[in-house]
Structure formats: C-alpha cells, structure tokens
Amino acid sequence: ERILGICDVEFNFVSFEEVTPFFKKIINLFKQMNYSEFESDEFRNFDNEIDTLILERKG
C-alpha cells in the first residue's frame, strides 16, 4: 500500500533527467527499510525519510 500510494502522487520535476535519481533514492530507502527490523526505530526513520523526500517534489 505504501508503494502504491507513492505511485498515485503527482510530482514536479524540472527535467526528465531528475526523475531517475529521485526514484533511485526512494528505492534505496525502501531497501534500507527491508534490511531493518520491522517497526524498529531504524525502520521508522527510513520511512520518515521517504515522506520527506516525497514532500520535496510533491505537486
């Protein structure tokens, strides 16, 4: 649901070249969450970082 939620968000990008690096960061954060213990502090920190990242580009 978390990932599907991101798919429904509208983002603002200045150029096409900005898209891939942005989503690579999100993907990496999901990977780090996956490496972390579920619902641990580390897990939640990564989750919050994803929210922060999305807010930066949200339309």
């Binding site: 070249e17 891939t20 690096p21 690579k24 990496n28 954060l29 990977k31 490496y35």
Partner: protein
Amino acid sequence: METTAFQKIYTKISRVTKATCSLHAIGVGYEEMAVVNGRRAQVVKIVGDEVTLQIFSGTEGVPTNAEVIFLGKPPTLKVGEELSGRFFNSYGDPIDGGPSVDGEEREIGGPSVNPVKREQPSKLIATGIAGIDMNNTIVTGQKIPFFADPDQPFNQVMAMVALRAEVDKIILGGMGLTNDDYLFFKNIFDSAGALDRIISFVNTTEDPPVERLLVPDMALTAAEYFAADKNEKVLVLLTDMTLYADALSIVSNRMDQIPSKDSMPGSLYSDLAKIYEKAVQFPTGGSITIIAVTTLSGGDITHAIPDNTGYITEGQLFLRRDTDIGKVIIDPFRSLSRLKQLVIGKQTRTDHPQVMNAAIRLYADAANAKTKLENGFDLTDYDERSLKFAKDYSDQLLAIDVNLDIDKMLDTTWELFKDNFKPEEVGIKKIFMDKHWNS
C-alpha cells in the same frame, strides 16, 4: 602384466567388433580385467556364458584364436604415500620412469561415500580469482565444473586454481590431453615446487581413447585413500569430461546399444554421477573436492554432456572472453556456486554477500546499457557510468589473471562503487555503507 600359474587360457573368440570381442567363458565377473592377445581388456557384458570384452587399444590384428586370460579381478590401484609426485597412465602404471608403487591394492570405481558418513561442506577454498572467490565461492567437498569453449585456456585456469588452493593433495585426471597440455601441467607444477603433492593420471591423445574411462576412477581411488585414510584435503582436477563422455559413447555404440540424446549412452547421467558423487566432506577433516572441465561444442549448454553435468554438480564456472577488455573472465551471469551461501559473510567479511550482489546487479545494468548502445539509443549518465564500472570490474576482478585475497577483492569493489556511483544507486545496507563508503 601379472599372471599366475595354472590360469585358464581361452583361445576361441566367437565375435570381434571394432573395440570388443566376445567368447564363451565361465566364472568371470563383470568389469574383470583380462589380457587379449597381449592387450588389456575389461569385461563389459555377460549374457549367460557369453562374455564381451572391451579391448582398450582396439581389436585391429586380434585373431579369433587369440589367447584370452582373465585376471580374476577388476582394475585396481596400489595406494600409498609413494603416489605423491608421480605420473601414471590410465592403468596406474608409472610413466615418469620411476618404480611401481608398492602399497595396498584397492579396486577402483567403488561406490560413493555413505550419506550418513558425510558432513555438510563448510570450509572455503580460496583461489585468488575474484570470479570464483567473490561471486561463486567454492568449498571443500564441492563438485563444480568449468564450462568453456575448446579454445579457452581452461587448463591454465585449472592449474592456477590447483596451485593457489590450500589443499594437501592435488590429483590430476587428464583425459585426451595433448602432449603440450601434459607438459604444461608437468612444468607448471614442477616450477611451482608443488610436484610433491600432486598425483597425475594421464591419458594423452596418443593413447587409445577408450582407456580414458579408467582415469577418473583411478584418480578418485587415490583421492579416497588420502581423504578417508589420511584425513587430508584433496582436490581432484578432471580434464576434459567431454572427451570422457565421448569415450563412453564409442564403447556404447560398438556394443550396439541404442543411443540416447546427442549419440550419448542412455546411462550418461549415471556414468557422470558415479564420478561426481565421490566429492565429500568427512567429519574427520578429510575432503574430496572435484573441479572438472566440460568443454562445450559451440557454446551449447543444452548438449547432453553439460546438461546432465549441470544437474549433478553444485553449480558451474563459465569461462568466456570479454571483448571489451580482451581477457577471459568467469562470466558472472552464467556461473553459480550453489554452496557459496555456506561461507560468504560467515568465513569471509560480513559485507561480502551485499557487495557481491550489488556488483552483479550493477554489472547487469551495464549489460542493458550496452544493448542500448548497440541498438543506437541515447545513453543516460547512469548508463555511461555503468559501462565504465563494468569495464573496470571485468578488468580488475573478473579476469582470470587477477590474484587477490578476498578482502582485497571486496575493497577493490568498494572503490569501483565509489568511483562510478552515488550511494543510493548501490543499494547496500547502511551499516556497511557507513563503514566502507564513508571511511
């Protein structure tokens, strides 16, 4: 050849084909050795009292009234410490000018080790080649082949692996070796000062091809002696198993057996498994690790020989030439060691699994970028960096001429990551990133 007094001598051969002869005899056992007209032979078929013998050097010139003497036992090998540093032919006779080995006589080709007596393989074998140690780590007691085209330097790679591996004994089973290959092995082992721990059973192209069938069993009988009796770590190198299977096909064809896929005998899987399943890790510390070469005809892995081999063995190491760097590499996409997870990150550094997986993933991205390039598409900045990474990764790590310890391989990979990618593109766990990226 040894003969005894009052041996029964048969002089009436009922049928002669290209490699076999048949006669009526009683009291003969399957696989029993015999001498036909002075030539070594082995019983391959018994129907009632009709015995068919496979004559190793062929039947040319064998008359129907030739003398046939059964030796009363299957092929045997005399085992002992005196085997070390020696070269033998397919029958276990010395070919290095030295004396015969005086030791316990053991039948070759016995059953593989009782599963209950085995221990799960767990000790790493370091070869110095990153394509093996980093991506396809092998362990003692494993059976794994090299798949290569006939023009690849597989014998050189085998020799490198043999000399770098920390084992007590290396047993070479050479089947269909050219004289150049035979001398190459002899010289490289001699100059490395390793000859005293190497035992070689050699069938060259000048020897009858059917004799090759004895070589793996000879090598593994010697290996079992050192591994089980002496608790030593033994590495068995078999080259080339394709020629071994071809010899099986020759005998099967001459016995009028109906061929299976690719003209191979229907028993090919069992014939190969009988050899490979001798790989073992004993709880007492001894082990037999088997590394065999299977050459591919035209790179076809669906041919019966590599296909069956792949089902039996615990992975494969695929050699190919990387045209970008002009060197032979262990192809990371087509190679696999099914037992690597037993040791990576446990007997090696904790970041090993993540670094290995990240490198392969990024190498795969580079392969996609290369396809884009070849099809005329524009490349992104990430594509360009991937291609550069792949070239450096192949040259500094995957190439077979590299000789590094595992920690150095991992450090080199980290440097390549840092030189070519941003942290979020690598996708490695934060704890390792903090330690190795930010240091």
